[in-house]
């Protein structure tokens, strides 16, 4: 706006958004943090027994990745290089504890379901990875979109794994919400709210709820994703 020179140094919001959108799509598909970089696998295995848990966990990761990206990006010129990782962890821990406290205060049951995993987002490599690889070099708006994109990439994987595991392991979908779908014949107990009951005789396998089910599902999904993903580099 002020002069010809400053326009080049200070790109417009439009350019920021365009750049951010590119980063966002990379995070969701082509450079998916879980499928391509195998980051954040620990929590992806742990909280995918039920779709609801996976969704809430994902919301937490989207929130933390996006917000910490923005804050790190805002401070990127002020952060001394030698302590940048410490600063990143402080910022990430701040948002994780914030989310954890909000969950404890407003959705206590879910906080109990997720157990220690919300707190462990602090060590989730996706969050730190994005702060290091993207936010430190880029402006806040692209960083925000990059964080959201990578969070959504994580979400896509978590929900996919959780759908498979909940279906095969419990014979339900979205159990614990009013939208629950139950694949079971016969009378349901009154304790389970349920939108739709599809009466097919089907024996859920407990193994799918336990750890081995998570590993099998995740492994097979990564295999399928990598097999059909167009043009693999390297």
């Amino acid at each position: 706006m002020n002069g010809q020179g400053s326009d080049k140094e200070k790109p417009t919001l439009k350019e920021d958004i365009r750049m951010g959108r590119k980063a966002m799509w990379a995070g969701i598909v082509m450079d998916n943090p879980v499928f391509c970089q195998l980051l954040g696998v620990c929590s992806a295995l742990a909280v995918t027994g039920k779709v609801v848990n996976a969704v809430v966990m994902s919301v937490a990761v989207i929130f933390v990745t996006a917000m910490s990206n923005v804050l790190v990006s805002t401070m990127r010129k002020a952060i001394p290089r030698s302590v940048r990782m410490i600063a990143e962890v402080v910022v990430i821990a701040f948002f994780v504890i914030l989310f954890d406290q909000l969950l404890k205060a407003f959705w206590f049951d879910m906080s109990r379901e997720l157990g220690p995993y919300v707190g462990l987002i602090i060590t989730n490599c996706i969050v730190m990875g994005r702060a290091e690889a993207f936010a430190l070099q880029n402006r806040p708006v692209p960083s925000l979109l990059d964080g959201i994109g990578n969070g959504l990439g994580y979400t896509a994987v978590l929900v996919a794994v959780a759908v498979v595991r909940e279906l095969t392991g419990s014979g339900t979908l979205l159990a614990g919400t009013p939208l629950a779908i139950v694949f079971k014949a016969g009378q349901l107990s009154s304790e389970t709210p349920c939108l739709l009951q599809i009466p097919i005789p089907f024996e859920p396998s407990q193994m799918m709820i336990l750890a081995p089910g998570a590993f099998f599902t995740m492994g097979i999904l990564i295999f399928i994703f990598r097999a059909i993903r167009p043009e693999e580099e390297i």
């Binding site: 952060i79 402080v90 914030l98």
Partner: protein, 204 residues
């Protein structure tokens, strides 16, 4: 030197700001979180005592039921007596202690005879999900119903079903793959039961 100082000052300021903001938020939410904890305990207590009217009750109604129907007998351990029309229906007491990983908080309810188990709940626990964490499920704790706190020298305990011929009146089947959680629970369960029985003896 200048760089090092700058790094230190930067981190100090960052930590100070972040720490203070979090402390403020935590203070603001503390009351709500405490309420949630209390409601969880009250809900489990009403549930384990099978207090009439607890089903479909709102949070406020649960607290009312807690105030109205339960008589708290202070002491060690605290005993909650569930009374209906002035007559004791059941007693409940806390059983808490170390699990395999973290503190486990539970409740045991007995019939008015003081020995027959009405129910057991483990409402706060951080055992391995899918394994030890199963102690939090209804399917597991239902096994305790109708068992006895004590029979001659035996105390209520979780055992491996394969190692005994038949589950006696003080034994419940443990969780496959969670023997250590079972053992840990047995320790504080026995302590809790011993203290409860001694106190019931006193109160007679």
């Amino acid at each position: 030197m200048n760089d090092k100082l700058r790094a230190l000052v930067f981190l100090a300021i960052l930590s100070l700001i972040v720490g203070n903001v979090l402390a403020g938020i935590s203070l603001g939410l503390q009351q709500r979180i405490e309420n949630n904890r209390k409601l969880l305990m009250v809900g489990s207590l009403l549930d384990v005592l099978q207090v009439d009217g607890r089903e479909n009750a709102s949070d406020a109604e649960l607290l009312d039921l807690f105030e109205e129907k339960l008589q708290l007998k202070e002491g060690s351990p605290r005993i909650y007596a569930y009374e209906e029309d002035g007559k004791v229906q059941a007693y409940a007491f806390d059983v808490s202690g170390r699990g395999l990983w973290d503190k486990v908080k539970g409740l045991v309810a007995v019939e008015e005879d003081g020995v027959t188990v009405r129910g057991v709940r483990f409402y706060e626990q951080n055992e391995t999900p899918g394994l030890g964490g199963e102690i939090g499920t209804l399917a597991f704790v239902r096994q305790f119903e109708g068992k006895r706190l004590q029979e001659e020298t035996d105390v209520l305990a979780i055992v491996k079903a394969g190692t005994v011929a038949d589950l006696s009146s003080t034994q419940v089947d443990g969780i496959t793959g969670a023997t250590m959680t079972g053992d840990a629970v047995n320790v504080f369960l026995a302590d809790g039961i011993e203290a409860f029985l001694a106190r019931m003896e006193e109160m007679k």
